[in-house]
């Protein structure tokens, strides 16, 4: 099924190193490969330092990749050179940030924050059209039309995040990278923002790369999921598959650590420990993502594939 869908983003062997050649070299992203299909939500989960945010930032070209390539709609984004190239690229791809308190300029009015993209891309022919576009956007994200002449400090965290979403939508992008968009919000507000993102996706045919550490929320919003650890992508599959039938030990350990709002479950919870030494690389037997069952990949050596297939088979038998 999924093979027939159009790939909107292809990340191939992406490496993003910092302080290259120095003693404190950091391999923040190390040989990561995955595709995102048009119209889906791809969730990237991992703990702090796993490289998930760096991956997102590389994709929107805030960094020059150390190695590997990123194709957006078939075009290599590292080949973008002129200002015009970047303008048209950033019109297609936008970002929503984690901290709604830091990502809005406190000295700008909401209408100017939201309209910044409209101005840069000359999408409005006059002031009246600009105002109308801004007000329509505010309404789309569930804010009041007459909020447009206010300043960021007059809004709560959830409302600010809605403003950030309106700003991203202003240039009518195809692809949005949402980097921990709800982790700074209260529980009752998180669900509002996530549901808004889902509705917008349906109405505008958006594709999301959703980066988060909250596994239950990622599971809820994503179609497919990639699990990152120490700069490497360890497992990729559909959200349901990865959660119900985790194949990699790290994924199983991560899922077992998520607290669940159910005292019965919590009383019987056993956390699965994870030993990172199984990830050791052998030069003659390289580890890479290999397909275990259709659409479900695990980073492993050639020899380990059979073992993982058995594990997947055992899950199936159980069900």
């Amino acid at each position: 099924m999924s093979e027939k869908r159009k790939k909107i983003l292809e990340v191939k062997h992406l490496k993003q190193y910092f302080n290259v050649g120095k003693p404190d070299e950091v391999k923040a992203v190390d040989d990561v490969t995955f595709d995102v299909y048009e119209g889906e939500t791809f969730g990237l989960v991992g703990e702090s330092g796993s490289g998930k945010t760096t991956t997102g930032r590389s994709i929107i070209h805030l960094y020059e990749p150390t190695d590997g390539s990123i194709l957006f709609e078939g075009k290599d984004i590292s080949k973008l050179k002129t200002k015009a190239d970047f303008l048209s690229f950033r019109r297609e791809m936008q970002m929503i940030f984690q901290d709604p308190y830091a990502s809005l300029n406190p000295r700008m009015k909401i209408k100017d924050i939201v309209a910044e993209g409209i101005d840069i891309h000359h999408l409005a022919k006059d002031d009246a059209e600009r105002s109308k576009m801004v007000e329509d956007l505010l309404e789309t994200v569930g804010l009041n039309r007459d909020h447009s002449s206010r300043y960021p400090h007059e809004f709560s965290g959830g409302q600010r995040q809605r403003i950030g979403i309106a700003r991203a939508l202003a240039v009518k992008p195809k692809f949005i990278i949402a980097d921990e968009p709800i982790s700074a919000l209260d529980v009752s507000i998180q669900a509002q923002v996530v549901n808004l993102l889902k509705d917008l996706q349906r109405e505008h045919g958006l594709t999301y790369l959703f980066i988060a550490h909250d596994l239950s929320m990622v599971k809820y919003i994503s179609d497919r999921i990639g699990v990152m650890h120490y700069g490497k992508l360890l497992e990729v599959g559909t959200a349901d598959e990865v959660y119900a039938h985790p194949l990699h030990d790290y994924t199983a350990s991560l899922i077992s650590a998520v607290p669940v709002p159910d005292p019965e479950y919590e009383r019987n919870r056993k956390q699965i420990p994870y030993d990172a030494s199984i990830e050791q690389d052998h030069p003659d037997n390289p580890r890479k993502l290999r397909e275990i069952v259709p659409g479900h990949f695990v980073r492993c050596t050639e020899d380990e594939v059979a073992g993982y297939r058995k594990k997947a088979e055992a899950y199936k038998q159980k069900a």
Binding site: E47, G157, G158, Q192, V194, L215, S216, L254, A257, P261
Partner: protein, 347 residues
């Protein structure tokens, strides 16, 4: 019956701001028994942190306690002078803060930071205090404790720092440990370790814990009893099973309904935002966001209705004359689980 060590009655706290008095705590009562864990859950601004700060005598300068009492055994904490509070803080009542990155002194060796309360409160000599600090570092799971006792905070990871903060809080074997979002800044795998550690230590030193958090998953795993706060008031309290499987207040329903579980397919958000406490609503504070609200909710604050010996909820829906409403599906499902648990207990 368990010994009652803390009894908070009708606590009221205002904050004076340029815009007027913010009524942050509006008539809050709860108690804490020896050895138990009480979780206080609520959103930011609900008053959960202010409540615990008042227990420690750490309220900001613009705060004013306008009523109520906080009885710690037979003494009222609100009547203590700052000097007297210094003898209670860190010795009888200790606190773990949210952010392990900022709650340690960056210029002090961690051994000294752990030993400090012993030297101050228990008048232990320095050498003995350091050796007790070493024991405690081992107890909270810091490897190579002999070496690391001389290190500074920046040489530790976030999870290790939170272990050290816990060691400092527990060094005088306090009767009450207040943990204010102690794992919010940590990754899930580290969070699981820290929570496990807190449970183990609680058994070892027999302390009572007040656990402040907005994460209902953490509450489900840690708490014996739960108090749900909203807009400066407690709206429902009961045992952990009663709150999670037989909730009565529509706000508790909303909270449970808006949390994704690993199996949920639909999230029901609570619409709107909490009320402004400069001018709090006079009835049920949740009225504006409550799909089950009745006329009386806007006019009169509901009293606590008794659900069981341990379970009370402040909602007019429990009034004998109130219409019967069907809660959201997720709550109906949880109530079925509650029936199963109760049936199982009866056997």
């Amino acid at each position: 019956m368990a010994e009652r060590i803390l009894d908070v009655k009708n606590l009221k706290i205002d904050f004076h701001t340029y815009a007027g008095a913010v009524k942050a705590i509006r008539d809050v009562s709860f108690h804490l028994d020896k050895g138990e864990t009480l979780a206080i859950v609520g959103e930011s601004g609900s008053g959960k942190s202010v409540t615990t700060k008042s227990l420690m005598g750490l309220l900001a300068n613009n705060a004013e306690v306008t009523g109520g009492s906080i009885m710690f055994h037979d003494q009222d904490i609100l009547k203590k002078s700052e000097k007297e509070m210094q003898n209670i803080r860190g010795k009888d009542i200790a606190m773990i803060f949210q952010d392990p990155m900022t709650s340690l002194d960056p210029t002090m060796r961690i051994g000294q930071q752990i030993a400090e309360p012993l030297i101050k409160h228990k008048h232990v000599d320095k050498k003995k205090a350091w050796s007790q600090a070493l024991e405690l570092m081992k107890l909270v799971g810091i490897t190579d404790a002999e070496e690391r006792i001389k290190n500074y905070p920046h040489q530790f990871s976030g999870g290790q720092r939170q272990r050290i903060v816990i060691a400092i809080a527990l060094v005088c074997y306090p009767e009450i440990l207040i943990a204010d979002e102690p794992t919010t800044a940590l990754d899930v795998t580290i969070q699981a370790q820290i929570l496990e550690l807190m449970k183990e230590l609680q058994e070892k030193i027999e302390t009572s814990i007040i656990f402040i958090t907005h994460d209902l998953g953490v509450v489900a795993g840690m708490a014996d009893r739960v108090a749900v706060m909203y807009a400066g008031q407690i709206v429902e309290y009961g045992t952990v099973d009663e709150i999670f499987f037989n909730p009565q207040h529509p706000y508790t329903w909303g909270l449970l309904n808006s949390m994704p579980t690993l199996s949920s397919t639909k999230l029901e958000a609570i619409p709107g935002t909490p009320p402004d406490l400069l001018d709090p609503p006079k009835g049920d504070p949740f009225v504006a966001r409550n799909p089950y609200a009745m006329k009386i909710d806007a006019e009169q604050r509901p009293p606590f209705f008794k659900v069981s010996e341990t379970h009370y909820a402040a909602t007019w829906l429990l009034h004998p004359d109130a219409p019967k409403v069907t809660p959201p599906d997720e709550i109906v499902r949880r109530r079925q689980t509650f029936k199963d648990i109760m049936a199982h207990k009866a056997i």
